[in-house]
């Protein structure tokens, strides 16, 4: 076999037909493959520890001090700390996943990805997994350090359920991230600017620093549509058992149901939409236009 040969088949038709196992294994390998550069980047340029972990901790601290200035009940400090931890994952979704496709296009990698046989959702998932390490470090630092420094007391009755809700929230968040990634593929440069729109306004309607049902109807809408809102609210109810929540706050069970529906719904919708949007991008010719 020549140096260049690899798994030579009898014909192109034979090479083009992959078994279900081959398809699944390629997608799984692609997840790891795409996560690899992100994880390598973290190790090779450690400035992120300062900018992505320490400084955001200080930003969360600012809201802690707002409540202290207002002499708020202590559980509100806990709300802020938990919200600050979870924002790490939301920012990962917005910047490192949804907006990342725009970067890939700008770098010229996007068309190479589309020309390869793996599923595109595997690439998105790989991006998310790669960024999740950074987000997790940030979330842990915020949680642990803020808890120690600001004396937050968690009252958890059901740890298993709390962890399950956290994982469900991540699944729903990243499903939404895939949907957003597809939209960004279409919107191009607008998407990059719209990233800004998805930070502060989402923080507000998701009740980042206060129980979301304090917003009344707006809060209810947020719980129904934004994974960050419903996940954060459910986790607060599980992490601060006995704390008063605004009237109308859905029970944890209802919120878990919403999260499950979001996780499945967003992921399925992303799958359908990405295929449609890829086709649209191929029709318009925007897969390789860099500055649109």
């Amino acid at each position: 076999m020549s140096l260049y040969e690899h798994r030579r088949t009898a014909s192109p038709a034979a090479a083009a037909e992959w078994s279900r196992r081959q398809i699944v294994m390629t997608d799984l390998r692609s997840v790891y493959g795409r996560a690899y550069p992100r994880m390598s980047g973290m190790l090779r340029e450690p400035s992120w520890m300062f900018f992505e972990v320490l400084l955001p901790f200080l930003a969360t601290s600012a809201f802690v001090f707002v409540y202290r200035a207002l002499q708020a009940p202590p559980q509100y400090v806990g709300f802020v700390v938990l919200g600050g931890a979870l924002t790490a994952f939301w920012l990962n979704v917005v910047w490192m996943m949804a907006g990342q496709l725009y970067w890939e296009k700008a770098q010229g990698n996007l068309e190479l990805f589309f020309a390869a046989p793996m599923g595109f959702m595997a690439i998105l998932f790989g991006m998310a997994m790669g960024g999740m390490v950074m987000s997790s470090v940030r979330a842990i630092v915020v949680l642990v350090v803020a808890t120690v420094v600001y004396g937050v007391t968690f009252e958890v009755d059901q740890w298993f359920l709390l962890i399950a809700v956290f994982l469900l929230t991540l699944a729903a968040l990243y499903g939404l991230g895939m949907v957003m990634a597809g939209l960004y593929l279409v919107w191009g440069r607008e998407a990059f600017q719209l990233n800004q729109l998805f930070v502060e306004p989402v923080y507000f309607v998701s009740g980042l620093n206060f129980p979301v049902m304090s917003l009344g109807l707006l809060g209810a809408l947020a719980i129904a549509t934004i994974p960050l809102a419903v996940g954060l609210d459910a986790m607060r109810q599980l992490a601060f058992v006995g704390s008063p929540f605004p009237p109308g706050t859905p029970s944890v069970e209802v919120e878990i149901g919403i999260l499950i529906a979001m996780a499945i719904g967003f992921t399925l919708f992303a799958r359908v939409m990405l295929a449609a949007l890829e086709r649209r991008a191929r029709r318009v010719g925007s897969l390789s236009v860099r500055w649109q």
């Binding site: 020549s2 140096l3 260049y4 040969e5 690899h6 798994r7 030579r8 009898a10 014909s11 192109p12 038709a13 090479a15 083009a16 037909e17 992959w18 081959q22 294994m25 390629t26 390998r29 692609s30 790891y32 493959g33 795409r34 690899y36 550069p37 390598s40 980047g41 090779r44 340029e45 770098q107 010229g108 990698n109 068309e111 190479l112 990805f113 589309f114 020309a115 390869a116 046989p117 793996m118 690439i123 279409v186 191009g188 086709r279 191929r282 029709r283 318009v284 010719g285 925007s286 897969l287 390789s288 236009v289 860099r290 500055w291 649109q292």
Partner: protein, 357 residues
């Protein structure tokens, strides 16, 4: 089953592609028909903006045609996208893609995973290809620090990772120096020769590259194929005779003595003979009916006591072919240039229009 008995490597029928760009619609491809059998090294030759990159993007499933059909080994570029992506790969010139933070080895390994190689298999194949493309010393160098030539070699290694049945090369030597471009050409040639049935589609505006590499060439302009044939066939369109420039030490009887030989169309002193005035040699342009007549001329010269000092065949270039087909050269505009050319949106795809969504 031999590849040659299967469907063609590329079969395009009535391919059209339009872009809705402001202020007017742009027709990038205007009814392209093309068939490339398996195992052929096929070239698309044309100036910037001819439609070469648009065609290659359609064939590599990155772009949908507006009209017409195209198939790669029988698989439709619109609907059988996944199957095509498993058996093809592409390398474009002037590419800046890649993750600067990764090493060459890591960058290639990442792509090996996208093509379904296992983890260990991927590393092994990457190491083999790195040696094959001559990047052994740079294997642990970060992609962001590579020179243009090194990056292109890395791109080639990426293009060969999955051992494609068909390899698309879109101006692969763009921006490379002479040595790097030669290395790229040698690499592609040896790769193709290693296994029968491998097909290559090359787009280029470098005549010499097309002439050297391609078994058949399609000359493209304004989205249409103007002519298809082997380089020799295309040149014969322009010049049916064989022309030789010969320098001899002396010629008794003058050029007329050669012109009378059978098969010699004409023999005349070379008009741009810049030799020293006191040189005794004579330089002639001989136009022969065919190459085979040259033997008789050499024998005749020998009988006349003349010695050949230099002999060179004059061939028309592919640009001569293009001029003959289109009426202008590769670098000539249709009319006077009144404004600077538009800035290309992508250095590797100059003048390819962008549809405004």
């Amino acid at each position: 089953m031999s590849v040659s008995s299967g469907p063609p490597a590329i079969a395009a029928r009535g391919l059209r592609r339009t872009y809705n760009v402001k202020p007017t619609k742009v027709v990038a491809l205007d009814g392209v028909d093309l068939e490339v059998p398996p195992g052929e090294f096929f070239g698309l030759l044309g100036p910037n903006g001819a439609g070469k990159t648009t065609l290659i993007k359609i064939l590599t499933t990155l772009l949908l045609p507006s009209e017409g059909t195209a198939r790669i080994f029988g698989f439709d570029v619109v609907d059988d996208v996944k199957r095509i992506r498993r058996i093809m790969n592409m390398v474009a010139g002037g590419e800046q893609s890649g993750y600067g933070i990764l090493t060459v080895r890591e960058q290639l390994w990442m792509f090996s995973q996208f093509y379904g190689l296992s983890r260990d298999e991927g590393w092994k194949r990457v190491d083999e290809l790195i040696e094959a493309v001559g990047m052994g010393p740079e294997r642990l160098q970060r992609v962001g620090t590579l020179s243009t030539g090194q990056r292109q070699k890395m791109n080639f290694a990426r293009g060969l990772l999955n051992d494609p049945w068909i390899l698309f090369l879109d101006e692969p030597s763009l921006g490379l120096d002479v040595a790097a471009a030669r290395a790229v050409r040698e690499l592609v040639t040896s790769w193709k020769a290693a296994v029968p049935g491998r097909t290559v589609l090359l787009t280029t505006h470098y005549m010499a590259e097309a002439d050297e590499l391609c078994e058949r060439i399609a000359i493209v302009d304004h989205g249409r194929i103007l002519a298809i044939g082997s380089p020799a066939e295309l040149k014969k369109r322009v010049q049916r005779e064989s022309i030789f420039r010969v320098e001899i030490d002396h010629l008794d009887g003058g050029p007329g003595s050669l012109a009378a030989l059978p098969g010699v169309v004409s023999a005349a002193p070379a008009a741009d003979d810049d030799g020293p005035v006191d040189r005794q040699s004579v330089t002639l342009n001989l136009v022969l009916e065919e190459d085979g007549v040259l033997g008789g001329v050499v024998v005749a010269l020998s009988r006349m006591g003349s010695h050949i000092l230099a002999l060179r065949k004059s061939e028309p270039s592919l640009e001569d072919v293009f001029v003959e087909l289109v009426g202008r050269g590769f670098s000539d505009e249709d009319g006077p240039v009144e404004s600077p050319p538009a800035h290309p949106t992508d250095p590797a795809e100059p003048h390819e229009p962008v549809e405004v969504a």
